[in-house]
């Protein structure tokens, strides 16, 4: 799941696909992804993993890194 999310984020949202990001990179607070990108990410997660994550969970506090995303996805 981590690798899949990493690939999707790198391909879809990064200005420069060569930017080094990993499972601990702060993506929202670090300015890599914004609300518009998070809408696409929410749809992607629903499509790929069958989990619908409510918007209040998709925040810089709880959804900032890929590791946190995986934890949240597993909760739902």
């Amino acid at each position: 799941m981590e690798a899949q999310l990493l690939e999707f984020i790198r391909d879809e949202f990064l200005d420069d696909p060569e930017t080094e990001i990993d499972a601990d990179t702060k993506l929202i607070s670090g300015g890599f992804i914004d609300s518009f990108s998070l809408v696409s990410l929410q749809s992607y997660i629903e499509r790929e993993f069958g989990k619908r994550i409510p918007a209040p969970r998709i925040t810089a506090e709880s959804f900032d890194t890929i590791k946190q995303m995986v934890q949240i996805i597993q909760q739902f």
């Binding site: 200005d15 609300s35 809408v39 929410q42 918007a55 209040p56």
Partner: protein, 457 residues
Amino acid sequence: MISFEFFAILGLSLVLYWLLPAQRARNLLLSAASLLFIWLLDHQSLVVVLALTLFSYGMGQAIYRLKRNSWVHVLGVIGILASLIFFKYLGFLAGLFDSLYIFLEALPRFSLHHLLLPLGLSYIAFKQISYLSDIKWKLVKPGSFADFLLYNSLFTIFLAGPIERFERLNPQFQSPRIPFKKADLELGSRRIVIGLFKKLVLADWLGFFISGIWNNPSQYHPGLALLAVFGYAFQIYLDFAGYSDIAIGASRLFGLRVMENFDRPYLATNISQFWRRWHISLSDFIRDYIFFPLSRLSSNKVWLLGFVPVIAMGLCGLWHGADSRYLIWGIWHGLGLSVYQIFQQLKRRLGKRKMLKFNAFFAAIAWPLTFMFVSLGWLSFRAFGLPMARHIFFSFEGLTLTLISFLLLIFLGRWLPAFLLDIGARIRWRPAFTLYLLLICLICYSALNTEFIYAAF
């Protein structure tokens, strides 16, 4: 908020609060103090708060207990919105209907213009919509009625937010006993004094100096009018950030942590970032309960990039009041977000190499452009500033000075944001500062005293 009632209730309840041993008893005391505060301000508001709290709590219980609960959720949100529309927007709508009255003479005429907006209603309505939606999404449990009543009425954040979530406040109410910490008292009182300073010394006096220009711009040089536009940007920020400081600080005195509402918004380098830093509790609400649900309706790019931000921000504008100037302000920001997002998509499409040569240019104009965009947005927000806009932008002098100020901001942008951040980090607060600031606040309060701008929403 800066009233005898507020500080008397704050002082008295604070002493009793820390004398009580159990958090349950403390919460009941805070609820009683909060209801007393609302009652002293306006009897009608207390009735509305209690009625809405009962309604939403009942709806929350139903959503929690029923398996097929979507219709209860919809009904609950409609009920809350109906109360908001009834008190806040019906006068505005009645005005529109009045203009059609000539064609509808056979219908009975209702007089709704003098319906008063209950205090804090806009904030409670959003808190309760988030409460019902979070129960629906299984993010929170309904909690006890006493805790929900305290969540809605807590007097430290009642008048103008922050629009806290039940999910964040309720665990604090549930705590067996919030420990007494000297640091909470020190940080809380410091924060209150800083808030008073922002409001009474900076915002009110700034407002005093620029209000003449805003009221009659044609009497002044376009350069001064332009300064008054920038001045209002700082007045509204200092006024609202000052209020938020007092609200957060007063809550901290009771050991309660309330979310931050501002994070240096005028240092934002794009409009999307600005909305992550300005009135954070409202923009979070708009994002979670309007922007995301609207975005899910269609994956069409025109809808997502063109319509959703404009509709969401238009509603955000209307939340401030039933007035076209707020709607225009919201649409202005919605269009800004939309254009910024389209630009981001284009940047991604063109790829890194093609954009590289423009990077230095974009970096130089990012901050001044954002600041100018936001400042110009306040033109509509503040008394529908068409005369002001006409005076500045329909004259050669005004346009030239706007261009010069933009160039000046580009120059300042090279070091000013970093300098301000550095100064902020270097300040070492001493207890004496709190007393000095309080003294200055008291002197300024006796000379000039105005209401908080955002308390009117």
